[in-house]
C-alpha cells in the first residue's frame, strides 16, 4: 500500500491534536517535537520525534500520548523513531504557537541570535521580554531555571506579578 497524501495529512492532523503535557496549549507538532511522518509499503506508520531537553520528563508521556492518539484514529501499529539531529530549538516555534503561548500566560522565547556571545557575560543584557499579563517591558529575570526545564522565572515591575518565560534554546 502506498501512502495516499490524505492519509499522511490526517495523521499530521491527529498529531496536531496531541497536547504537550507541560504546555497543554500547544500541540507536539506546534512545539516541533514531531519531525516526520512516514508510511511503509504495508501501510505501517512511523512517526519521528525529537526530545526538547535531554532530561525532559514529559517525553515518556508524549510517546504514549502520540501512540494512543494514533491508535484511536485507526493507526494501531504505529511506531515511534527517535531522532537526535538536528537538535530541537525554540526557533522552530511559529507565530501562531507564540501567540497561543502568550495568551496562556507564558512569555514566548526570544530569538536565539540575542544570546550573549560571551559564555559568562560581564553584565547580562537586559532581556526585553514583555509581561504576558500587562504588556509592560519593565520586567526582570529572576532565574534562568524554573518550574520545568524549558522555562525561566521573570518578574513584572509594572503589575508586580511573577511570570514564566519559555527559554530560548
Amino acid at each position: 500500500m502506498v501512502a495516499a497524501p490524505h492519509d499522511l495529512a490526517s495523521i499530521w492532523a491527529t498529531l496536531d491534536r496531541v497536547p504537550d503535557p507541560e504546555v497543554p496549549v500547544l500541540s507536539v507538532v506546534e512545539l516541533g517535537i514531531v519531525r516526520d511522518v512516514a508510511m511503509d509499503a504495508d501501510g505501517r506508520v512511523t512517526v519521528s520525534i525529537t526530545p526538547t531537553y535531554s532530561g525532559c520528563p514529559a517525553l515518556r508521556v508524549i510517546e504514549r500520548d502520540i501512540l494512543d492518539a494514533l491508535a484511536r484514529d485507526g493507526w494501531a501499529d504505529a511506531r515511534l523513531r527517535m531522532v537526535y539531529a538536528p537538535a530541537w530549538t525554540t526557533d522552530w516555534m511559529g507565530a501562531d504557537a507564540r501567540r497561543k503561548l502568550e495568551a496562556y500566560g507564558i512569555a514566548s522565547p526570544p530569538s536565539r541570535d540575542t544570546d550573549d556571545v560571551e559564555l559568562v557575560p560581564l553584565r547580562r543584557r537586559a532581556p526585553s521580554v514583555p509581561c504576558p499579563y500587562c504588556g509592560s517591558h519593565a520586567t526582570a529575570m529572576r532565574s534562568e531555571f524554573g518550574t520545568t526545564a524549558c522555562k525561566a522565572v521573570m518578574y513584572c515591575e509594572q503589575c508586580r506579578q511573577p511570570f514564566e518565560l519559555f527559554k530560548a534554546i
Binding site: L67, A85, A87
Partner: protein, 271 residues
C-alpha cells in the same frame, strides 16, 4: 530513570560504519561521558530541598535533570555501541564502582554551596568545549546528542560562572569559602584532559575532538572568571587521577549504594 524497557521507541544504534577495532574505544569514551554526567547529576540532586534559597534549589534540580538526561542518552548509546545487550538503565544501576569511568572531580561529596558551585563551573566549562567538538562528530547520533547538550550546558556555565563571581567578589565569608573550594578542587581538574589509549584510538577518526585542544580553551575561560571573582588559581602541582580506569575515591561506592538500592533490591522494578 523510570523507563520501560519495552518502550516502542527505537533506541540509538551504533552505525555500522564504525570500524570494529574502534568500537570498544568508542564504547569506553561514551561511558566516560555518560558516567561524568550521571554521577554529577546525582550529586546535584542531593541539594533538592536543601539549597540556600528557593531559586537555587530549583536551578540545581534543573541542572541535575539536564545532566541525568544527557547521561541516559549517552549510556544508551554506549550500551548499543558495546553490543553486550546492556541498555542505559543496566549501565546506570547494575555496575559496581570499579566499573564506573567518571572523573574523580564529579564524585566528591557535594560540600557547601561554594564547593558545589565551583565544581559545577570547572566541569561545565570543560563539558561545553568538549560537547562543541562532539557536535561536529562523524557519528550522527552522538553529534545530535552533543548539539542539544551543548545548548543546555551553556546555561549551566552561565549560572555557575555568575555565582563564582558573586561568591568570590562578595563578602569575606563567601570569598573564603569559594577560595577554599577552588584550592580543594583544582588538583582534580587535570583528569578531565588526560588523554590515554581510548582517546588515541579515536582521535583521527573524526568521531571525537582532541582533548589537547579543549584544555587551553577551558583554561582561558576559567582564568577569566576566576580573576573577575578576585579569586586566585592554585599553583600548578600534582593532579589526581584514576576515575577513568575505575580507581575511585571511597565516596563513589557510598553514593552508588544510595542511587542503585531500588534496582538492586527489586530487580527490574518499574514505576
Amino acid at each position: 530513570m523510570p523507563r520501560s524497557t519495552t518502550s516502542p521507541v527505537g533506541r540509538p544504534v551504533a552505525p555500522p560504519a564504525i570500524a570494529a577495532n574502534t568500537r570498544p574505544a568508542l564504547a569506553q569514551y561514551l561511558l566516560r561521558l555518560g558516567d561524568d554526567r550521571l554521577v554529577l547529576g546525582h550529586r546535584l540532586s542531593e541539594w533538592c530541598g536543601h539549597a540556600p534559597i528557593l531559586e537555587e534549589d530549583i536551578a540545581l534540580a534543573n541542572i541535575a535533570l539536564d545532566l541525568v538526561g544527557q547521561a541516559a542518552l549517552l549510556l544508551d548509546l554506549a550500551g548499543a555501541t558495546e553490543g553486550a545487550a546492556r541498555d542505559g538503565d543496566a549501565l546506570a544501576y547494575l555496575r559496581e564502582a570499579i566499573d564506573f569511568r567518571n572523573v574523580l572531580l564529579v564524585e566528591l561529596p557535594k560540600g557547601d554551596f561554594a564547593f558545589t558551585i565551583v565544581r559545577q563551573f570547572l566541569f561545565s566549562v570543560a563539558a561545553y568545549y568538549q560537547l562543541e567538538g562532539l557536535a561536529a562528530s562523524a557519528h550522527p547520533d552522538l553529534a545530535g546528542i552533543a548539539a542539544k547538550a551543548v545548548k543546555e550546558t551553556r546555561y549551566h556555565v552561565r549560572h555557575a560562572g555568575e555565582w563564582v563571581i558573586k561568591l568570590g567578589d562578595g563578602t569575606q565569608e563567601s570569598h573564603g569559602r569559594a577560595q577554599s573550594a577552588l584550592d580543594a578542587l583544582w588538583r582534580y581538574t587535570g583528569e578531565m584532559f588526560l588523554a590515554d589509549d581510548v582517546d588515541a584510538a579515536l582521535v583521527g577518526t573524526g568521531l571525537v575532538p582532541d582533548l589537547g585542544t579543549i584544555e587551553p580553551q577551558w583554561r582561558a575561560q576559567v582564568t577569566d572568571v576566576i580573576e573577575r571573582a578576585t579569586l586566585t588559581i592554585p599553583p600548578a602541582g600534582y593532579m589526581q587521577r584514576g576515575g577513568r580506569i575505575g580507581r575511585h575515591t571511597e565516596h563513589l561506592g557510598i553514593m552508588l549504594a544510595e542511587m542503585q538500592i531500588l534496582q538492586r533490591s527489586y530487580p527490574g522494578a518499574k514505576w
